[in-house]
Point group: C2
Chain length 136, copies 2
């Protein structure tokens, strides 16, 4: 866990490509370290940031949303109220996602169960109704 990373090492360490790092830099997900000696040096923090972004994307957040999530830390000085508000909104999103994923999970479990008791009478998987129960 050194403190200085070249772009290549950063990329490898965080599980993305060099191009992705540069892309994220452009988009402001990590801040550009001005190339002091020709090459840029990145702190270890950026490894963690990029890993976070990677996973956030897999969870259905866009790059911009991931950026917002990242920005929630640090800025808690003057605009604590704003940060709190944003955090609360994100929390709602996250909660809804968890709920819906649990619905899908239950459906999948039930499907696996039905498949195991191989009575298989054109067993309808309830996955389609995942988001229909308790609706309206």
């Amino acid at each position: 866990m050194k403190e200085e990373y070249t772009i290549g090492k950063l990329a490898k360490e965080s599980g993305v490509t060099v191009e992705t790092v540069r892309f994220y830099e452009q988009k402001g997900l990590i801040n550009q370290p001005s190339p002091k000696s020709g090459y840029r040096k990145y702190p270890y923090d950026d490894v963690i940031k990029i890993r976070f972004v990677k996973r956030a994307k897999e969870l259905g957040f866009t790059l911009n949303e991931a950026k917002e999530l990242l920005q929630l830390r640090v800025k808690s000085d003057a605009k604590c109220g704003q940060v709190k508000l944003k955090a609360e909104q994100k929390l709602e999103d996250v909660d809804k996602k968890i709920k819906d994923l649990n619905k899908i999970k239950r459906s999948l479990k039930s499907l696996i169960q039905t498949c195991s008791n191989n009575e298989s009478s054109t067993s309808e998987c309830p996955i389609l109704e995942s988001f229909e129960k308790d609706k309206k």
Copy 2:
């Protein structure tokens, strides 16, 4: 809840545009009802399918993955073993997503808490470490 939908009504009812419906049709997410009388008619089932796809996407599944999830129902005749396997894989995915979302959730909650006790000493939000704890 009628049984026959024109593409426009289907789109409206499922919260997407007409173009999106056609796009999903092309991609095989819903099956093309041959335009018997010049216009196509869709069953109510397609409303539910499209709503499902929509939400699945927000949960980080691709269109193809959503398609796979949809295909898990129905086909449980001969290849029950295959379906079960696929369902089990999806279940793992879903479980991992839920776990990670819970980590983010805890981070957000803690951030909100810190913000509420307005001691705000450059309070570092732990969201960045969401996926770093218990790693390696």
